[in-house]
Amino acid sequence: MKPTADLGTGYKLVPGTGPHRASEPLIFERSVSGRRGFSLPPLDVPMPPAGVTAWIPAERLRAAPAALPEVSERELVQHFMKLAHQNFSVETNFYPLGSCTMKYNPRIHEELTALPGFSTAHPYEPDAAVQGTLQLLGELGQWLGDILGMDGVTLQPAAGAHGEFTGLLMARAYHEAQGRSRKKVVVPDSSHGTNPASAALCGYEVVEVRSNARGRVDLAALHRAVDQDTAVFMLTNPNTLGLFEEEILEISRLVHGVGGLMYLDGANMNALLGLFRPGDMGFDITHVNIHKTFSIPHGSGGPGGGPVGVKRHLVPFLPGPLLKKEGQAYRWVEAPPSSIGRVRAFAGNIGAMVRAYLYIKTLGAEGLRHVAEHAILNANYLKARLKTAYTVPVDEPCMHEFVASAVEQKRLGVKALDIAKRLLDYGCYAPTIYFPLIVEEALMIEPSETESRQALDQFADALLAIAQEAKTNPGQVQMAPHTLPVERLDEVRAAREPNLRWRPSPDGARPQGALQGPGP
């Protein structure tokens, strides 16, 4: 890219890059020897003349300090602020990423989670010294059990997929305790990728059953797929098309009839909150992604939390240790030998659990039901507005999300990917695309309950405008985005010539200029 004007001051005007859209050098390229962004208090205990080699043999030590960048605090803050400005986020953009429930994250949660009582507690403090945290965890476990309709809950798993792994290990232990080691986990063909991956990690063979023409589990196909070797049928409800599995009670009966267990992938729990409970639909095990349903900020990819709830017959297999209330006091006790053991160190992603607690306590029973109702209304409203221009493969009332398809646009040469990229130019993050796998050119749209009618309209207007562009100016869409720090990236090169870490250039010179790439 050529600058259009050099103002003679080192500042350059570059077309297509607003002040908050300019690219930023790597922090390593900003490094200047001798700069520091933080100062330690002077050492107030003796350091021998030989330095630390007085205590640790020299052959165990680094020859030179690790080559970390050297920047001042001002440069450090500027660097990461410039990076921040290159991100879309829930706080700054409409973020309809299907299956991820990108709802607004209340700011008060950040403030309260940082209270020193919570944030400085060490995991090995005596139980008596951390009764505040333990009470919070104890009550949260109770509340989640109530919300899910489950008898026992573990807060240990660190994320949804980790919860799946935990839940499936419990299923495995349960079957082994019955003296029937089973081999298969059955999943619908519309399932999240984590489901078969978690099942494989637990040593199960994965069997997929196809969906019927209405996007639901095909009961006849399921009948053929399950047998005495089926350990678990794992599904999400509403399913990944945002449709309620209306035959869920029949499905549960069928699976229980062959001695299998029902596992709910709770990724879509936002649609059920306060309306229906997994435990009342025949599910034996469910995890819930608290970063989705209970509004833990997604943190650019985590941390989240994946508590798992189970029915009474699976309680003996919960991971340990277990939190017990005795009188008014809480304490940890060892799990029975039937437990699957630990799935991570310490008690879990406690900071995330504090936020989930705050969320439930703020909203309360009625507020939680409103979450589901508004989420469902918002999704149906968007669907109604968009189906004039986009195909909706199953046009029935949806739950908290729905899947549209860009098959019509594809005939004009505009794919789901192009539409997703063009949305970025309109200031909207893109829906989940090409998922579920059973819908061609899928656009999976989940607006969440925290978006206003006006925000939904703006998004719908953008998608309708793009559908129009696909007819009148497809090139505009196919080449999008046009307004961001970079255009579409060469992903083939990224995979063929993996460059996963920075190294100084061989001649020691630093690359000059923010906008120049490293060259091929």
């Binding site: 330690l40 208090p41 205990v45 991100n87 986020s89 060490h122 290990l169 990728g193 941390p303």
Partner: protein
Amino acid sequence: MEYTPNTADDRRQMLERIGVGAFDELLNGIPASIPRAKFSVVPPGCTEPELVRDIQALAAKNQTAAHRSFLGAGAYEHWVPSVVRYLTSRGEFLTAYTPYQAEASQGTLQAMYEFQTLICELTGMDVANASLYDGATSTAEAALLALRHTQRSRIVVAATLHPEYRQVLQTYLKQAGVRIVEAPHADGVTSVVEAERAIDDQTAAVVVPMPNVFGCLEPAEALAARARAVGALSVVVVNPLALGVLKPPGAYGVDIVVGEGQPLGLSLQYGGPYLGLFACRGEHLRRVPGRLVGMTNDARGRRGFTLTLQTREQHIRRSKATSNICTNEGLCALAATVYLCALGRQGFRELAEQNIAKAHYAQQQLTAIPGVTPLFPKAPFFNEFALQLPCQAATLNERLLARGFLGGLDLRRVDPALDRGWLVCVTETKSKAEIDALAAAVREAL
């Protein structure tokens, strides 16, 4: 308090547009045989002032903040510079998700690329991923990689690995029929002779902590060499802060370095969220679990960053994925990135040196007390050390708590035989005066 903006009038207009008269019509397809939810213990809801009042009271039930702490054992108190909290609380990072749309996520992607570079630099490895859940699950993922790579079914683990990490390994591996062999320790570090006996041509991985659960530095170099000799992979479980001074495992031929990133700018939070580190040699790239960010360019040749090699991952490969991980610990990785850049080349080394100096000063002061001796006098240590007490550690800790100190770890938690063992951690956060005060309190309490 609710966070749903749409008013009754909004909802009426929306229902009209959808073409239904009332919200419940949208649920008409759901059979009446499924009962509507009824809650018995979910609370009634509250406003922000009420929430703050109640939660402040709850936080105050934790006595934590009032104590001077000498607890470590896998979770460490360090000073977290203010900029770490500020930058990680920016909504653009805090409320984004996994950067699936690269063009609208360059901030996150570049920060993750910087994180990967920093972890490679600290560990001496070729490749680092963009984080896993915590140190224990990273260790399990390393073992899984080694099992797949070698097609063998035995793992040799140092008995000095944190007990909770060993338990997690057990949970992850037992259903796969993997045998976990513990290599015993002598004088606080793994016995090379015993370990060499345990490591054979059926061994997929040798897992060694550095420093170990007693704070001691392990003969990791010798154990890695033995692993290499029999075709097993070596896995070193690090405290990354110690790598400010210790030789990076990459310099002695280690295959995989994992660890707990919590010391790098994350507060204790009663155990999480923490940060699973995972780095390895380039040859294992295609088996790495979790997200990887790569540098590439756009059509105009401008540099850009994107998630790459996603065919390893569950959303593409499903049951054949290298791991089931989806959500990782992105924000914690960002915190570690900011932390390491704030400390910088000199600052990070100085920090590690201060930890060593303060821990050694404390050990000297405490072992000057009659009846208190080093439990493992021969092994060099980093920022925590084990002592033998003249009484049970639990008893001493109770007396110290009454004097405002959170004492060291009662080593019965690691090994029931060590009922007078006490693991003391001293980081840069403790002044000489505080260390002296601890020594005086111990003297008085015994």
